[in-house]
Amino acid sequence: MSGFDVVRKDVEAISVVYLKGYLDAHTASDFENALQQLVDEERIQIVVNLSELDYISSAGLGVFMGFIEDIRVKGGDIKLAELSDKVFRVFDLLGFPVLYEIFLNEEEAIQKYQ
């Protein structure tokens, strides 16, 4: 089974990454590869849209943690948008809202870069 999908959309200098389905230890590498691709292309103004993400475990959270320092050192950021209550609760449990800017909708997150 692989109920996970990553889709990317570039909006000028900003890249929006859409996560869909289940982000767990099985699928985390797909998300990791997508972020690595963006870093390799030096596209480090990133918005991750989580509106269609149904589930996240610590393996998925670890991907966010694994990239944030490198991306911020280079002057970029990962901003989060459109989290469901279920996914937000997991982020919140671990205190992630202190570390990541979270927006109710994608447009707000994009505008924060502009």
Partner: protein
């Protein structure tokens, strides 16, 4: 709920590909016995974390091993026991992170145990004389 104990169990190959199946099983049983969605989400995440640790650490990605996930339900609690025959795990070997410190240091990994202990009412590790490792996680029905 009567005082009778109900038991449900599955045995699956140790592979992350099966995590989705394990979550579906555990969430299905939790729903069946009346947990609300917020508690169902907590139970499925805690069990996912326990099984992920088995796949990645106890068996070190060896795919020809099995994970047992057994659920026992009595009138007061929902107990999940995850059993493996891999490398022994000692919770004392793992630092439970102070989350403020953890985030300040931008550390990676080690969140699974913290989540399990936060999501469930009880988490116990035990390695028996049979060499099997068991992680027992309990959620009480008190808030139903």
């Amino acid at each position: 709920m009567t005082k009778k104990t109900l038991e449900y169990s599955v045995k699956l190959p140790s592979h992350t590909d099966n995590l989705e199946l394990i979550r579906t099983f555990v969430a299905g049983v939790a729903k069946k016995v009346g947990f609300q969605s917020e508690d169902i989400n907590k139970i499925e995440l805690a069990v996912d974390e326990a099984c992920t640790n088995v796949v990645e650490h106890a068996y070190k990605e060896k795919e020809n091993e099995n994970i047992d996930v057994a659920i026992q339900i009595d009138y007061q609690k929902f107990t999940v026991v995850v059993t493996d025959k891999g490398k022994r795990f000692s919770p004392a070997d793992i630092d439970i992170p102070d989350m403020d410190q953890y985030l300040a240091e931008l550390r990676v990994g080690g969140l699974g145990i913290y989540l399990m202990k936060t999501l469930m009412d009880e988490v116990q590790y035990h390695t028996g004389p049979d060499g099997k490792n068991r992680v027992k996680m309990v959620k009480h029905f008190l808030k139903r």
